[in-house]
Amino acid sequence: MKRRIEMASDGQPLLVAEQVTKIYRSGEVSVLALDRLDLTVRAGELVAVMGPSGSGKTTLLNCLSGLDDIDSGRVLIQGRDLFAMSDADRTEHRARSMGFVFQSYNLIPVFTAVENVELPLLLVGTPAREARTQALEILDRVGLGGRAGHRPNEMSGGEQQRVTIARALVARPAIVWADEPTGNLDTAMAGQIMELLQQLNAEEHQTIVLVTHDPGIGRSASRLVRMSDGRLAHDEVRTAALAGAAATAESG
């Protein structure tokens, strides 16, 4: 496989994963989920991660975001080694630099839409009033201005996923991780959600790494990474916007 040296429009690597290995152990059984994986994501990229079930897509997302521990290797985000930090520091780092969008939305069921969205802002110390204003603004932007006071179980799947996206973006994180963001939605709704993510990426240069099974979504991403058996099997830049800045190198 070819190693690629990726360059975003601003040319700065945002995330560098080196030789990351993750093994799941259950009793006597061990499963190698990530096998000495290398990946660099530059600021402003929209990276789609595809691959068959069990290829390690979600594990990749969990490990690179610091949600899960790794067995070896290292992950640098904005130059800081994620796994050299204490759990508290890593949590703090996650709050300040990452946003998450999940397949099952994973909104806090007892909070309203606006309360869910303002959470990341409050976590980084934004004053409550300001957090509320920003949360309402972004809800408005994702088309849910009128649903701010509703709880998740009072909203449709598409609406819940928009709230999730709003929550992921509200604190302007360096990177947004999205795990099957359209997996629970119908085609039309999935299209709208992808449109929204692409728009954010294009207009605000929001770095997004998304895991998907949907080839259509994979094709619409600026960069497509394919995984197989815990390794990067294929990595290509697909959009003109990023093509000029990309370089490739042999990998493995």
Binding site: L67, A95, Q103, N106, L121, L123, V124, A128
Partner: protein
């Protein structure tokens, strides 16, 4: 205990087990599902069982208290009576001798297996040993034919199976020997009829059967001498010992008692005209056994009543746990329903699972209950004995009957099982899509229409039923029926107002009725029914909890600055209040668990504080200025006792001695609480009461003051004065006798009876209990002329009220009087101390009840722990998301701790406020606290202790789940969730 409940409980248990067994055997899928749910998480299954078993444990403990009290009182029959079922005494020696002669051949009756004639009387006993003198002023000395005594009641042991010790010898019981530190060979001097009778101890025998016999008291200190020893001493002093004919019915101690009615009739027939001359048949064993039954039933139900609040909390916990289980398994249930599982099968799965938990909880609960019961019995017996004056203290006998084990097991299982089944029915009604997609459930249109019709009917029925209930002031129904009418109206009201408005209005109305009903109907508590208190406690708690859960946002306003703070503390608080606010049913059930138990604990604390604050006033009321009471043996009277106790060395120390004319009698209960005659001591009103008498709480409206009452009762032979506890047998305060009530007094000797009207009620009659031999008798004060007119020669003087000079030490004076009048068997009672001791016992009883109830708090605290454990599991995904978003582990830990504290604080505060408010309302507006003239106290110390311990224990119970929540790894939880 409660054998009458055994058949329905066993039938219920059988039916429940049959249903669960049928489902388990013939529905293998349900069985598999249920068993796997239980074994999948054994720790949580254990927590569910622990949370459910406390109810059973408390039921069992209450039954054990009843059993043990029954056994302890029943033991009196073995100790003091043995084979004795009946005895015959007469007011004069001549008549009693004639009676003995007539009954001599009674043993030929097939229902009788022994007749024993003994002569006996009170005597002081003194032993000089190793330079020290030890004395017992109230020993009983009996002369007896030892050979007859040994075979009395054969083949069962008589308790006095010992060879004739010979002249100059005495056989003493262990109780007397202990008092005197006597052993075989010691020489005891008995002073009977004022004459010394030196005797050598031949043997010390156990105080059992005939050896433990006495005149009404339990702890008798007996001595037995051969026939012909006592009579000459008595005759030499011009006296006569009482001849008593004891009769043993065929059979053992308890089986013989069943023939009491038949044998009594036979004895009466044999006595013939002697009955007219005062020869009376007593049936002590039947009375003891009846008393055992009554005491155990009263105390057992009192503890069961207190436990009922904990049981209600336990039911709420079970409902809560199963609602949480269903919530957690909502998706799974939805899918099971989607693939074709019928509603009743969903109910069946929960039923089988619930049966497993219930069975485990019932079995463990019974074992725990026996242990708790054992502790409570020891404490309760000490408290009960504290009320008793003289020698009526009971020994502790621990007992558990198979009936109680069956009842406890069945009741515990059925309560848990029914709570599970009813909750399951509700769970099974979940809409499939709503369950799978985790949506709010909406009632079906048809259900709504049906509920409207039912609501209309129920509201009308309850409202109509309320009218006669309120009119009759019938305790529980007065509270319950209007409240049920209001609750039943909820579906109707929801047609015209929002749910929150309706719930708030109904809860507010129920709360207001619970607090104010006693103003409208002040006599509601007169029936002494514990159900009234249970209904009141539930109404107040549940109504307040509904109000609080519906208006959490208002109550949380003070927390807003903290919640809105963009710090970890602010976020932890925000999260901590979010779940309790959103999950209203769950929070409400938990708040209910806390509030109902705390309410009753605080109510007891307050009642105890009110009673405590009135001690000094009661001492003043009870004594009327008299400090001591002296009782002496009628067979060795003090010549001119009034003078003897106020002259010589007692001049200036005892400033006044007032002799009391007394006569033992039987009387009816003016309030009809019992059909049996009550044991009373008729007391002639002393002349000295004209100058200073005990205070009265009530008097006939026509009488302007207390003095007028005493004058009327003294002068008019048809009026009496009673104590306000006349006829009470324990349990909650009910109606008390009132001026104008009538009762009938019967002279036990002649059988003559007359009616009397109550002219006034004593505020505290403690000074007049235990008169004479110390036997429990309700005092009835009447004019001396009236006393003599009814009781004739029965009237005697053997007690005096003493007024002492200021600064006199009562203990020192008592000691001197005991020594100086030992030969007269004089016993001195410090009246003030007796009243204080009575209050101390009441305080201890309240504390015991509070302690017992505090076990119910364990339900709440354990429940909170169980709920938080389940909450952590239920919220794994949310916790993972929060961690992913940047919540620190410590923030999550604090949020869980804060959540449980928040719930506990709300529950405890509701309970405390309601407890104080209810007591205040009862204090101000109901006759329950009588005429206590003290300002309403608040038991700050006890309340603070209750609040502090509850909150700390609640936090401790949440520590483990909070730590568990903090340790959840976000990626793992998200992977599982997704």
């Amino acid at each position: 205990m409660y054998p009458e409940l055994t058949p329905p409980l066993v039938a219920g248990l059988g039916a429940a087990l049959a249903v669960a067994g049928y489902l388990a055997v013939f529905r293998p899928v349900l069985r598999r599902l249920a068993v796997r749910q239980v074994v999948r998480r054994p720790t949580e299954a254990l927590l569910v069982v622990l949370g459910s078993l406390i109810g059973t444990a408390l039921i069992m403990a209450s039954l054990v208290v009843g059993d043990s009290l029954d056994r302890s009182v029943r033991e009196v029959a073995y100790d003091s009576l043995g084979p004795i079922d009946e005895y015959v005494t007469a007011p004069s020696a001549q008549v009693s001798e004639q009676a003995a002669r007539r009954l001599k051949f009674l043993h030929e009756d097939p229902s009788v297996d022994g007749v024993l004639i003994m002569r006996g009387d009170y005597a002081a006993a003194v032993l000089d040993k190793a330079g020290q003198q030890r004395a017992e002023p109230r020993a009983l000395i009996w002369e007896v034919v030892f050979e007859t005594a040994a075979s009395f009641g054969a083949p069962d042991s008589s308790g006095l199976a010992i060879a004739d010790p010979g002249p100059g010898q005495v056989v003493v019981t262990e109780r007397l020997a202990q008092r005197l530190d006597a052993s075989a060979g010691d020489r005891i001097t008995f002073y009977a009829y004022g004459q010394p009778l030196p005797l050598t101890v031949a043997a010390v025998i156990p105080s059992k059967g005939v050896a433990g016999v006495g005149f009404g008291a339990v702890d008798n200190r007996n001595a037995f001498v051969r026939a012909g020893t006592l009579l000459p001493v008595a005759r030499a002093a011009g006296g006569e010992p009482t001849t008593t004919t004891f009769v043993s019915n065929r059979g053992g101690v308890e089986s013989g008692a069943r023939l009491t009615e038949e044998v009594t009739a036979r004895i009466r027939a044999e006595l013939g005209p002697l009955g007219e001359s005062g020869a009376a048949v007593e049936t002590p064993k039947q009375e003891v056994l009846d008393s055992a039954e009554q005491t155990s039933a009263t105390l057992g139900s009192l503890f069961l009543f207190i436990a009922s609040f904990s049981i209600i909390a336990g039911i709420l916990l079970i409902v809560n746990i199963f609602v949480m289980l269903s919530e957690e398994r909502k998706g799974q249930l939805g899918i099971l329903r989607a693939v074709g599982m019928r509603r009743r099968r969903v109910t069946g799965e929960f039923t089988v699972e619930g049966a497993l938990y219930s069975a485990g909880a019932a079995l463990l609960g019974v074992l725990l209950g026996i242990g708790i019961g054992r502790i409570v019995v020891v404490l309760a017996m000490n408290v009960l004995n504290g009320y008793e004056q003289g020698d009526n203290k009971l020994g502790i006998e621990f007992a558990v009957t198979p009936t109680s084990v069956v009842n406890g097991l069945a009741a515990g299982f059925l309560i848990a099982f029914l709570a599970v089944v009813l909750t399951s029915v509700r769970i099974a009604r979940t809409n499939i899509i709503a369950a799978i997609r985790d949506l709010e459930r909406t009632p079906r249109r048809r259900t709504r229409n049906l509920s409207l019709v039912l609501s209309g009917i129920a509201t009308t029925v309850f409202a109509l039923a309320s009218i006669p209930a309120i009119a009759a002031s019938s305790g529980a129904a007065t509270y319950l029926l209007p409240a049920l009418a209001a609750v039943a109206a909820v579906p109707l009201l929801r047609r015209i107002a929002s749910p929150r408005t309706v719930y708030s209005a109904v809860a507010g109305a129920v709360l207001a009725w619970g607090l104010l009903a006693n103003i409208v109907r002040p006599r509601m508590f007169d029936d002494q029914s514990t159900a009234t208190y249970v209904v009141l406690g539930c109404m107040l708690s549940f109504a307040a909890v509904v109000l609080v859960t519906e208006h959490q946002t208002i109550l949380l306003r003070p927390l807003r600055p903290l919640v809105q703070r963009s710090s970890q503390a602010g976020l932890a608080t925000r999260l901590a209040v979010a779940y309790p606010t959103a999950k209203r049913f769950r929070t409400g059930a938990t708040l209910g668990m806390y509030s109902i138990v705390v309410l009753v604990i605080v109510l007891l604390s307050q009642a105890s504080a009110v009673v405590d604050s009135s001690v000094e006033g009661s001492v003043r009321n009870a004594t009327g200025g008299w400090s001591l009471r002296a009782d002496y043996s009628p067979s060795a009277p003090i010549p001119d006792p009034q003078r003897a106790l106020t002259s010589g060395e007692y001049a200036g120390v005892i400033t006044e001695a007032t002799p009391l004319l007394t006569a033992e009698a039987d009387a009816t209960d003016p309030l009809g609480r019992t059909k049996d005659l009550l044991p009373v001591m008729a007391v002639g009103i002393p002349d000295a009461f004209a100058a200073g008498a005990p205070e009265l709480t009530e008097r006939l409206p026509s009488l302007p003051n207390d003095a007028a009452v005493w004058q009327l009762a003294d002068a008019e032979s048809s009026y009496v004065v009673l104590d306000d506890t006349y006829g009470t047998t324990g349990g909650p305060q009910g109606a008390t006798v009132a001026p104008g009530d009538t009762l009938e007094l019967t002279d036990r000797a002649s059988g003559t009876h007359r009616s009397y009207t109550v002219a006034g009620v004593l505020a505290d009659g403690s000074a007049l209990y235990g008169l004479g031999s110390g036997e429990f008798r309700y005092p009835v004060l009447m004019g001396k002329a009236a006393l003599r007119s009814l009781f004739g020669s029965q009237v005697q003087v053997s007690s005096l009220l003493l007024r002492t000079a200021p600064g006199t030490n009562p203990a020192e004076l008592s000691s001197r009087l005991h020594a100086d009048f030992l030969l007269n068997g004089l016993v001195v009672t410090d009246i003030q101390q007796a009243v204080r001791d009575g209050f101390a016992s009441s305080r201890q009883f309240f504390q015991l009840m509070q302690g017992y109830l505090a076990l119910g708090l364990l339900v709440g605290i354990t429940g909170l722990g169980v709920i938080m454990v389940r909450a952590v599991r239920e919220r794994r995904r949310t916790i993972a998301v929060l961690r992913a978003l940047g919540f620190r582990a410590s923030t999550l830990r604090w949020s869980f701790l804060a959540e449980s504290t928040f719930i506990a604080v709300e529950g405890v505060v509701i309970g405390c406020v309601l407890g104080v408010l209810t007591t205040w309302m009862l204090y101000e507006y109901s006759p329950m606290f009588g005429s206590l003239d003290v300002s309403f106290p608040i038991a700050w110390g006890q309340i603070a202790l209750t609040v502090g311990v509850t909150l700390i224990a609640s936090m401790i119970a949440t520590l483990a789940p909070a730590r568990r929540a903090a340790k959840i790894r976000p990626a793992v939880a998200l992977r599982i969730a997704n």
